[in-house]
C-alpha cells in the first residue's frame, strides 16, 4: 500500500513511506501474539517520524496527513484499538500544542464550545513541532511507566491469605500478582480459558514466580467462586462506558462473580481505553470468530461438515459487572471513565475516519 499524498498535496520522503508501509504490514501480520505495549510504542515512533518528515505548515494540515495515513492501517478491525487510541492521543497533543497559550478547556464556559481550537495560531512550524515532539516524549515515558504504575498498586488491593481468581493470560495481571507476592502470601486460581488454554501459560508463569496456583476448567468457575475473595482480570479494550472487550469467557465469569458479590477488578493501562461504544454484537463489528481447530479436531470431518462450530475470540462484559479499574492513572470506578476520555481524546478524533477538520474554518464549530 503506497501512501498517497494526493489528499494533502504534500510529499512524504521515501524513507518515511517505507517505514509507514512496514508498520502497516506489522499490524496486518502479527495479529495473534501481538503485545499491546510493543505495538503502542511502535505506533508512537512511526507517527513521530511522520510528524518530523512530512511537509505541513499548520496543525490542521498535519492532522489531515495523520488521518489520511490512518486509512491505510487496518484500524477498523476490532484488534487494533490500542493503536487507534494512541493515534488519538497524538492528535490531541497536536491540538493542545496548537491552541498553545490560548488553551481552552471545556470547563471555561459555554463560549469555549464554540471556539475552534484549530484557528491559525501564531506558533510557526518549527516551534510547534518542537512542542509536539516534547509532548510525544512525555507520552512515551508515560507509556513506559504505565505498567509499573499499575503493579505498584498491587499491595493496596491484595491482602494476605487471599484467594484471587483470574482468567486466561494477561501480562499486566501477571506482573501485578507477582509484585504483590513480594510482600504478601496469597493463592491464585486460574481459569483455563479454553480452547486457547492461555490460562496454562499464566499458571506456569505465576507458579515460577512463587505463587500457589491452581488451574481449573472454565466450567468450574461458578462452583469455586464463592470461596474466592476477588477476581482480577486483564482486558483487551475498555469501552467508553466502562464495558470491556475481553477474552471469551470473561462475561460469564463476571456474571458468576456478581451473583456471589465477589468484586471484579480490571487491570489495564489507559491506552486500552477506547472512546467507542458497543454498536452491535456482530462478529464484524465487535467480535472476531477464529478457527475451530482448537475445539474439535479436523479429523472429525463428519461433524465439521454438519455442525456449526463457533469460536468467538472476544466477549462483551457490561460495565455493571465491573467494580474497579486499576489503570496507570490510578484506580477508577467505571462511572468515572467518561471524564478520563474527555481529558485524553478530542471529540473530533473519536472517529478516526472523520476528516471534518476542513469544516472547522470559522470560529463556530457545529
Amino acid at each position: 500500500a503506497v501512501v498517497s499524498t494526493q489528499s494533502t498535496g504534500k510529499k512524504i520522503s521515501k524513507d518515511t513511506v517505507s517505514r509507514l508501509e512496514e508498520f502497516a504490514l506489522y499490524l496486518r501480520e502479527s495479529k495473534k501474539e501481538r503485545r499491546s505495549y510493543v505495538s503502542v510504542v511502535k505506533t508512537v515512533n512511526v507517527f513521530r517520524d511522520l510528524i518530523c518528515t512530512s511537509e505541513w505548515v499548520t496543525a490542521r494540515e498535519l492532522i489531515k496527513i495523520i488521518k489520511s495515513y490512518c486509512k491505510y492501517l487496518p484500524l477498523s478491525q476490532s484488534n487494533e484499538t490500542d493503536v487507534s487510541n494512541v493515534v488519538r492521543r497524538i492528535l490531541k497533543i497536536i491540538r493542545e500544542e496548537n491552541a498553545g497559550s490560548e488553551a481552552t478547556s471545556f470547563a471555561d464556559g459555554l463560549s469555549s464550545f464554540f471556539k475552534s481550537d484549530m484557528k491559525a495560531s501564531s506558533i510557526g512550524r518549527p516551534d510547534l513541532q518542537d512542542n509536539i515532539l516534547n509532548s510525544i516524549v512525555e507520552l512515551l515515558s508515560e507509556l513506559e511507566t504505565s505498567k509499573s504504575n499499575i503493579i505498584n498498586m498491587a499491595l493496596e488491593h491484595i491482602h494476605s491469605n487471599e484467594r484471587i481468581l483470574t482468567f486466561g493470560h494477561s501480562n499486566t495481571v501477571r506482573d501485578f500478582l507477582l509484585h504483590g507476592r513480594k510482600a504478601r502470601d496469597f493463592e491464585v486460581i486460574v481459569c483455563e480459558s479454553g480452547p486457547s488454554l492461555k490460562g496454562h501459560k499464566m499458571a506456569a508463569e505465576l507458579s515460577d514466580g512463587g505463587i500457589k496456583t491452581t488451574v481449573i476448567p472454565d466450567s468450574s468457575a461458578f462452583a469455586i467462586i464463592h470461596a474466592v475473595n476477588k477476581v482480577i482480570i486483564g482486558t483487551h479494550t475498555i469501552m467508553a462506558d466502562g464495558a470491556l472487550r475481553a477474552p471469551n469467557g470473561v462475561h460469564q465469569l463476571a456474571m458468576a462473580a456478581k451473583y456471589f458479590s465477589v468484586p471484579v477488578i480490571v487491570c489495564a493501562a489507559v491506552y486500552k481505553l477506547s472512546p467507542t461504544h458497543l454498536c452491535s454484537y456482530d462478529p464484524d463489528a465487535f467480535n472476531k470468530v477464529i478457527g475451530p481447530e482448537n475445539m474439535l479436531n479436523f479429523s472429525n470431518e463428519k461433524l465439521h461438515s454438519k455442525v456449526l462450530i463457533s469460536n468467538p475470540d472476544f466477549d462483551y462484559v457490561p460495565s455493571d459487572f465491573i467494580e474497579l479499574f486499576i489503570t496507570n492513572t490510578g484506580g477508577h470506578a467505571p462511572s468515572y471513565l467518561y471524564r478520563i476520555i474527555s481529558e485524553l481524546y478530542h471529540p473530533e478524533d473519536y472517529d478516526l475516519d472523520n476528516m471534518c477538520v476542513e469544516a472547522v474554518e470559522d470560529d463556530i464549530c457545529i
Binding site: 479454553g194 480452547p195 496454562h200 506456569a204 488451574v215 472454565d218 461458578f222 461433524l303 456449526l308
Partner: protein
C-alpha cells in the same frame, strides 16, 4: 531395666542396666534392635492384610502423598459409602516402609478448600488388594468396580442400571448358610461389595438410593418364604426398580418434555446425557422442527458424542465451548439440562458447568428445564458445590487438541502448581425454571415433598 524383646521371634536381647545408666550399645545390639523394630512392623503389616481380606478391600492402602496424611485419613473415612461401618479405623497410616517410589498419582500439594475430597487415585488398580481365594467380593462386582473406575460406565442412569445387574447376579449366585436367615445375612454379604465399589469410584446418588432401597427390601422379606422364593422376590424387586424408576420414568419424562418443545425452538443442551438425547430424538421422531445448541466443556468434551448422535438423527446442531455461552445465549429459546440428583433444599446436582449455564440463561431470561427421575432425589442439603463433590483425573486437563504440550504439563514437579478437575456442581433453585419428573412437573423447591411422599409409601 531396659529389655528389648521381639514379638515373633521371642528373642530377648536384654541388657540389664543400673539405675539411670546408659550402657554403650554394641553393634550387634543395635542391629538386633533394628531387626526387632522391623519384625514388629512386619507383624503389623500382616495383621493389616488379614483385616483387609476380611473387610473386603476396605483397608486398601491409600498411599499417603507427601504432606497430606491427615487429609488422607479424613478422605478414607468419608470415601467409603455407605455400608462400611465395620471397617477398621487404622487404615491410612501404614507403619511399613514405603515400597519403591510409586508414582505419586495424587500430585504434590492440595488445594486447601478441597482437601476434604478424596484425591484422584485411580492409577492404582482397585483390585490390587484383593486376593483370589478369600475375597468376599463377587466377580460381577469386581468387574463393575473396574468399569466404573476406568470410566467405561458413565452417567447416573447407566451406573445405577449396571449396579442393578450386578446385584441381581449376586442374588442369583447367593446361597444362604443353613443357620442364617436370608434377610439378615444377605445384607452382610453385600456390604463388602458395596464398600469395594465405593473405593473404585465415589458412588453416585442414583446408586446410593438403589442400595438403600434394596437393603430395605431384603430386611422386609418374610421369614416364611423359602430361600429360593425369597431370592425370586428380590430379583423381581431389582427388575422392578429398574423398570419403574429408570425405564418407564424416562419415557414419562420425555413425553412431558417433548410436549414443551415447539417448532422453531433452539434448544441448548450441555454435554452428553442419555435422558436428554432420548428426549430430543423422540421429539425428532414426532417431526418437530427444532435446532440444538450443544455446549461442551473441557476436559472430557462429551458434547462431541452428543453432536454425533444428533446429526446422525438429522437434527441441525451447533457446537460451542462453555466460554461462548454468553455469546450464543440470545439465540436460545430453551435450556434442557440433565441432573445427577436433586437435593432436598432444591439445589440441582449436575455435571460441573450446569450452574454456569443456569446463571447465564436466567440472565437472558431463557427458561431452564431440568429433567430428573424421582429416584435421584436425595435427602442431602447443601448450598455450595464444593462440600459434596468428586475429583476427576487432573491429567486429563493437559490434553490439547493441537500438537503442543500444555505449559503446565510438568505440574507434579512444580511445588506451586495444582490442577483441579471437579465432577459435579450444584445449581441454586432460583436459576431453574422447572424440574420435570415422571410424576409431575415441579419447581425445584418441591423436592422435599416428593421425598416425603416416597418415604410414606414405603
Amino acid at each position: 531395666k531396659a529389655v528389648v524383646s521381639t514379638q515373633s521371634t521371642g528373642e530377648q536381647v536384654g541388657v540389664s542396666l543400673k539405675e539411670g545408666e546408659q550402657p554403650p550399645k554394641t553393634k550387634a545390639q543395635l542391629k538386633a534392635e533394628r531387626r526387632a523394630i522391623q519384625e514388629a512392623q512386619r507383624a503389623a503389616k500382616q495383621k493389616l492384610k488379614e483385616q483387609q481380606a476380611q473387610g473386603g478391600g476396605a483397608g486398601k492402602q491409600k498411599q499417603p502423598p507427601t504432606g497430606a496424611k491427615p487429609a488422607a485419613t479424613k478422605s478414607a473415612a468419608i470415601a467409603t459409602k455407605p455400608s462400611a461401618k465395620g471397617k477398621p479405623a487404622d487404615v491410612s497410616k501404614p507403619t511399613t516402609k514405603q515400597p519403591d517410589k510409586q508414582p505419586d498419582s495424587c500430585g504434590s500439594g492440595r488445594v486447601e478448600i478441597l482437601s476434604h475430597l478424596k484425591l484422584y487415585d485411580r492409577n492404582i488398580p482397585p483390585t490390587q488388594a484383593l486376593s483370589y481365594t478369600s475375597s468376599k467380593i463377587h466377580p460381577a462386582f469386581v468387574k463393575l468396580g473396574v468399569q466404573m473406575a476406568r470410566d467405561i460406565i458413565v452417567g447416573s442412569n447407566a451406573r445405577c442400571a449396571a449396579l442393578i445387574c450386578a446385584v441381581k447376579t449376586f442374588i442369583e449366585d447367593y446361597n444362604c448358610p443353613k443357620t442364617k436367615e436370608i434377610r439378615s445375612h444377605l445384607n452382610i454379604a453385600l456390604k463388602p461389595c458395596f464398600s469395594y465399589l465405593a473405593q473404585c469410584r465415589m458412588m453416585s446418588v442414583s446408586m446410593e438410593n438403589f442400595i438403600k432401597h434394596i437393603k430395605l427390601q431384603i430386611t422386609k422379606t418374610s421369614p416364611d418364604l423359602s430361600d429360593n422364593e425369597a431370592k425370586e422376590e428380590l430379583l423381581f424387586e431389582c427388575e422392578n426398580f429398574f423398570k419403574e424408576n429408570i425405564y418407564l420414568a424416562g419415557k414419562s419424562i420425555s413425553e412431558k418434555a417433548v410436549a414443551r418443545i415447539v417448532n422453531g425452538d433452539m434448544i441448548l443442551i450441555y454435554k452428553k446425557s442419555q435422558l436428554i438425547l432420548h428426549i430430543l430424538l423422540e421429539a425428532k421422531r414426532q417431526r418437530k422442527q427444532f435446532k440444538v445448541m450443544v455446549v461442551d466443556s473441557r476436559p472430557d468434551l462429551t458434547g462431541v458424542a452428543s453432536c454425533e448422535r444428533l446429526t446422525a438423527a438429522g437434527i441441525p446442531c451447533s457446537y460451542v465451548y462453555i466460554n461462548s455461552c454468553t455469546y450464543i445465549m440470545k439465540k436460545v429459546t430453551k435450556v434442557l439440562l440433565a441432573s445427577d440428583a436433586l437435593l432436598a433444599n432444591g439445589y440441582v446436582l449436575g455435571p460441573v458447568g450446569t450452574a454456569m449455564i443456569g446463571l447465564i440463561a436466567s440472565n437472558y431470561n431463557t427458561p431452564v428445564i431440568v429433567c430428573c427421575e424421582t429416584y435421584k432425589f436425595s435427602e442431602r442439603v447443601q448450598t455450595d458445590s464444593i462440600l459434596y463433590n468428586e475429583l476427576a483425573d487432573p491429567d486429563s486437563m493437559l490434553k490439547t487438541l493441537n500438537a503442543d504440550d500444555s505449559l503446565v504439563a510438568g505440574w507434579r514437579e512444580s511445588p506451586n502448581t495444582r490442577l483441579v478437575n471437579l465432577v459435579y456442581d450444584t445449581t441454586p433453585p432460583a436459576l431453574v425454571s422447572i424440574v420435570i419428573t415422571e410424576i409431575a412437573e415441579l419447581p425445584c423447591t418441591s423436592a422435599p415433598v416428593v421425598l416425603r411422599r416416597g418415604a410414606v409409601k414405603l
